[in-house]
């Protein structure tokens, strides 16, 4: 999926804004937002927040987690844990990207935050690739990955499912042709490459 579509999905998340105008509630296809009272916070979908902010009609209140100390903790936890930790928001990358690009002035220490969020994403992404490798080389037939966000899943699509398709095709060929496995003792490949023991633990059942 194109990241712009993931962004579109993520833009439905609600975020707090402080409008500088007053208005009746807006009745939109998916529901109503408002009423708006100048100076009082109100929750609106992210796309609307960005739109109003561009027209200088509001200030965006960054979500609680968009704060240096919290993110430092998340980053350390992500480094420590061999599993994927739960992110404070399913669309943390999209929210961060949109809020920080449309309203950098509304976010204290914006540049530092940008870097640390990117770090968290990179740590998780490389963890994902390591787990995939362990899974493919291991003997498991399925894997369950908790707490991955949509954008992260799409960092390995479609290359991962395509690769698995090919591997499955060749596995069928191999098993069909192979009556005796004595020629190649490859059942321990996982162990030989040093990842076998890890594979099962990363992929909790």
């Amino acid at each position: 999926m194109d990241p712009s579509i993931i962004e579109f999905i993520g833009e439905k998340s609600m975020i707090s804004i402080i409008p500088n105008f007053s208005n009746e509630p807006l009745h939109l296809i998916y529901g109503s937002v408002g009423p708006f009272r100048a100076g009082f916070p109100v929750f609106v979908p992210l796309w609307l927040a960005a739109h109003l902010r561009k027209q200088q009609k509001c200030r965006i209140v960054p979500p609680e987690w968009m704060e240096l100390e919290t993110l430092e903790e998340i980053k350390e936890e992500e480094k420590r844990s061999k599993f994927f930790t739960k992110m404070p928001c399913e669309h943390y990358m999209v929210v961060a990207q949109l809020v920080m690009s449309t309203a950098p002035d509304d976010v204290p220490r914006c540049e530092e935050l940008r870097t640390i969020i990117k770090d968290i994403f990179d740590i998780r992404e490389s963890k994902l690739r390591t787990s995939i490798d362990a899974f493919i080389k291991g003997e498991g037939t399925y894997a369950k990955l908790d707490n991955l966000t949509l954008l992260e899943m799409h960092s390995v699509r479609p290359i991962l499912p395509y690769s698995l398709d090919h591997i499955a095709r060749y596995q069928r060929v191999a098993t069909a042709s192979q009556r005796d496995t004595s020629m190649l003792s490859l059942n321990t490949t996982g162990g030989a490459s040093g990842t076998g023991s890890m594979s099962n633990s990363l992929f909790s059942q």
């Binding site: 962004e7 493919i136 395509y162 090919h166 591997i167 060929v173 042709s177 490459s193």
Partner: protein, 213 residues
């Protein structure tokens, strides 16, 4: 880009099945002498070694009486690397442009039953490497390192990564020129430049009423 599942219309698969395989002739085959470039006889003589296209071989029974199929050494040669899980450095594309698919076709003819296992294990071991190079050096060409299947996977990975990077730079939502149009324009410009009589601008204000629907 679509995933690759060889079907009847698949040009890739037609390319793979065009590959030649070495065969030994087991018995005199009448009027098939034309298959043997080095022979002047009308019949194909037993004991000769000839190269036959895979599209013919795959129609033969594995234990047919006419030919014995010689499995190429490339698969035996990577055997050790596969066992030691040291396959990432192998220049697969250099060994054979269709390493996996060619191997897949030859699997039934391999009396040692290793080719199937070898292609399966090789890809299994190299996926991590493919994921890494798609992420980290998308621009470098890997023509010798990767076989055809791997190049396709690599392309898919590079594409995902490019889209992600464009998105980070906030240009993901821009409307872009269609890929075909872009390629077409580049070629037209190249053709224009190579035109000797290329006097002034030949910017043809093409048909003005380009309707949408």
């Amino acid at each position: 880009m679509m995933n690759y599942f060889p079907n009847y219309y698949s040009i890739e698969d037609i390319f793979v099945t065009q590959e030649k395989v070495e065969c030994k002739v087991n018995t005199r085959l009448q009027r098939l002498g034309f298959l043997d470039a080095g022979a002047e006889t009308e019949d194909l003589e037993p004991g000769r070694t000839i190269n036959l296209p895979l599209w013919y071989i795959k129609e033969l029974k594995v234990n047919n009486a006419y030919f014995t199929i010689a499995v190429p050494d490339i698969y035996k040669n990577v055997h050790k690397a596969v066992c030691e899980a040291e396959t990432t450095h192998i220049e697969l594309g250099r060994l054979h442009p269709y390493f996996y698919e060619f191997g897949r076709y030859l699997t039934p003819y391999d009396r040692n039953h290793v080719i199937g296992r070898i292609i399966f294990e090789t890809l299994r071991q190299r996926v991590r490497h493919l994921l890494d190079i798609s992420k980290n050096d998308g621009d470098t060409k890997h023509e010798h390192r990767l076989d055809n299947i791997e190049s396709k996977l690599h392309e898919a990975g590079v594409r995902t990564n490019t889209l992600y990077i464009n998105w980070l730079q906030m240009s993901g939502n821009h409307i872009r020129t269609s890929q075909l149009v872009e390629e077409h324009q580049k070629k037209r410009k190249r053709a224009d430049r190579s035109d000797d009589e290329g006097d002034n601008e030949t910017d043809t204000p093409t048909s003005k009423k380009r309707s949408t629907m």
